[in-house]
């Protein structure tokens, strides 16, 4: 690749989100902003070759993208005026209706220009972009895809490959999400204070879904699962975006809680699969802890301490604290199960989630023995949310196995195998079931 090609690629990775966010704020139209940002990068590829790479590539790209947006808005305004004339004839148009795009074009025409309407605020723009892409009025899969596309600069084709759907499906998913932003009047801004707490949770939830999508792929053999490399990369992308969001929201300890949780989990990725011939996932207990990325664990622990210092605990900080206890244990036997079970008590209180209660039962099983764990598990098993959840029979099977009840354990592993949809978990369950048979 040429130097210019590398410069554009680097700018794409580092600046895409900022360029997109700046134009989206100017125009209030994410779709338009995306088209113009894309054009700006195409122009860069041509002109940087001729004129050299500018000192501030990001600023150059933003200005170019904005000028493109301006051209389009002017054209749109001329057309809108034509439409308005005919609409007035039929008295359909609301004369007071405000259109941010035409207002922006008006401002430029009036000579105030972009600079007059908006001082530079790259971080603020990025934050507005994050909240817009993660607005809870959008369908969840649209939020996840749009966040990825908007903040990482991944192309629609790349996003499609990572989510294992055809490119046309992904293009439609993104288009619908962007259209809903426009048609429902989702403003390109940070939510007002009374909505902020909920919206921060909504953003963090999207990032966690994104991370999990990638992290699951680390428990699948890369060679025989389609798109595994692309999916695995999603975990890195999620960590990057979580780091950005944590920086942009310094007053929200939960944002740092999520970043810490992702760092601590992601640090285990290289230990999650067993070596050939048995390429199946290794549980925390079985993992070779020397394969953990201890530098990333140290980073995650620092971020967690920083979050906890604010003394406003939340579910992500508690989950990160649990992950930290696993990360600090030199071996599985040295895990502080008493502390982990206590943290799960806190987490159950905070979330009222049956899935969390299930994990708590496992921790109790490690602390007070498998029969105690089974009793806890039976207490939550009837929750309707767990009806088709493969980890319910899988966890019961593990507890039964530890309790020395292999026949019942095998039946539960088989039940879990009927419900599982993830390749990694399927292999793990098959391995457990096979091990029971040989032990008999």
């Amino acid at each position: 690749m040429t130097d210019v090609g590398q410069a554009v690629t680097a700018a794409f990775r580092d600046e895409w989100g900022r360029v997109l966010a700046a134009v989206a704020r100017s125009t209030g139209d994410l779709d338009l902003a995306e088209d113009c940002a894309q054009e700006a990068f195409a122009v860069a590829l041509r002109t940087w070759q001729r004129d050299g790479v500018p000192d501030r590539p990001g600023a150059w790209l933003t200005t170019t993208a904005r000028n493109r947006a301006l051209d389009r808005l002017r054209r749109r305004k001329v057309e809108a005026e034509k439409v308005a004339v005919s609409a007035r004839l039929t008295e359909r148009l609301d004369p007071d209706a405000a259109d941010p795009a035409s207002e922006a074009a008006d401002a430029v025409d009036a000579g105030t220009g972009w600079a007059g309407v908006e001082p530079e605020d790259p971080d603020g723009d990025l934050l507005r972009l994050v909240f817009t892409c993660c607005h809870p009025a959008l369908p969840l899969e649209g939020r996840v895809a749009l966040t990825l596309r908007s903040l990482t600069g991944m192309t629609t084709a790349q996003v499609a490959r990572a989510f294992l759907v055809p490119e046309t499906t992904m293009a439609q998913r993104l288009t619908r999400a962007k259209r809903k932003i426009r048609t429902t009047g989702i403003a390109f801004r940070v939510p007002p204070p009374e909505l902020l707490r909920e919206r921060v949770s909504a953003v963090l939830a999207v990032l966690y879904v994104l991370f999990t999508e990638g992290y699951d792929a680390w428990a699948e053999p890369a060679d025989d699962v389609a798109g595994a490399e692309e999916r695995r990369a999603l975990a890195d992308d999620a960590v990057r975006v979580a780091r950005l969001v944590a920086r942009l929201l310094p007053d929200e300890p939960e944002a740092r809680g999520l970043l810490s949780l992702l760092l601590l989990q992601h640090a285990r990725r290289l230990a999650r699969l067993g070596a050939a011939p048995d390429v199946a996932p290794r549980t925390l207990e079985e993992q070779d802890r020397s394969l953990w990325r201890h530098d990333e664990i140290a980073d995650g622990l620092t971020v967690l301490d920083d979050a906890l210092a604010a003394r406003r605990a939340g579910p992500y900080q508690v989950q990160a604290a649990i992950a930290a206890l696993h990360a600090r244990a030199a071996s599985a036997d040295e895990t502080d199960w008493a502390e982990i079970a206590a943290l799960y008590d806190v987490l159950v209180d905070m979330t009222r989630s049956p899935v969390v209660a299930l994990n708590r039962a496992v921790a109790v099983g490690m602390l007070r023995g498998p029969e105690a764990g089974l009793a806890e598990l039976d207490d939550v098993a009837s929750a309707p949310e767990l009806a088709a959840y493969h980890l319910l029979p899988a966890m019961r099977a593990d507890l039964l196995r530890r309790a020395g009840r292999p026949v019942e354990a095998a039946a539960e592993y088989r039940r879990a195998l009927e419900q599982v949809d993830r390749e990694g978990d399927r292999r793990l369950l098959s391995r457990r079931l096979a091990a029971l048979r040989t032990a008999k």
Binding site: V83, A84, A87, R92, L93, D94, A97, A98, H135, A137, Q172, T175, R176, R179, T183, T184, G185, I186, A187, R189, P191, P192, E194, L195
Partner: protein
């Protein structure tokens, strides 16, 4: 932007809702600030009258067309700068606490691009 706010009564109303706002306060705050333009309660579904024209004949039927568990109990037309403001208004309505509220953005006829896009969506389904 304008939104039709449908006020729905739902069968799964919480037994003891807490901190339910007073409707008088909501009306004062919303209509008083010009955020709502028009609205009212609606008579129950038993008083609904269906009208269709088929083969040139006006066919009048008794009751609503769709039997849903949610009943449209009232409506308001909101004029809000953006969706979050409309959400804030909707969340302050007592029925958001005891039933449900649905916001439907207006779709003015001049947005021809949207009409075309919605058409292609329908084909894709």
């Amino acid at each position: 932007m304008r939104y039709l706010m449908l006020v729905l009564s739902t069968p799964d109303a919480p037994a003891e809702p807490v901190n339910v706002p007073e409707i008088e306060d909501w009306v004062r705050d919303t209509y008083g600030t010009g955020r709502a333009i028009l609205g009212d309660r609606l008579r129950p579904p038993a008083d609904a009258v269906g009208v269709q024209v088929r083969s040139g004949e006006v066919v009048v039927t008794d009751g609503p067309f769709s039997e849903t568990k949610e009943v449209i109990a009232g409506f308001d037309i909101l004029d809000a700068p953006d969706l979050d403001e409309a959400i804030r208004i909707a969340a302050a309505h007592p029925m958001a606490h005891t039933g449900a509220v649905e916001l439907r953005p207006f779709w003015p006829l001049e947005l021809d691009g949207d009409a075309a896009a919605a058409g292609s969506d329908a084909e894709a389904r």
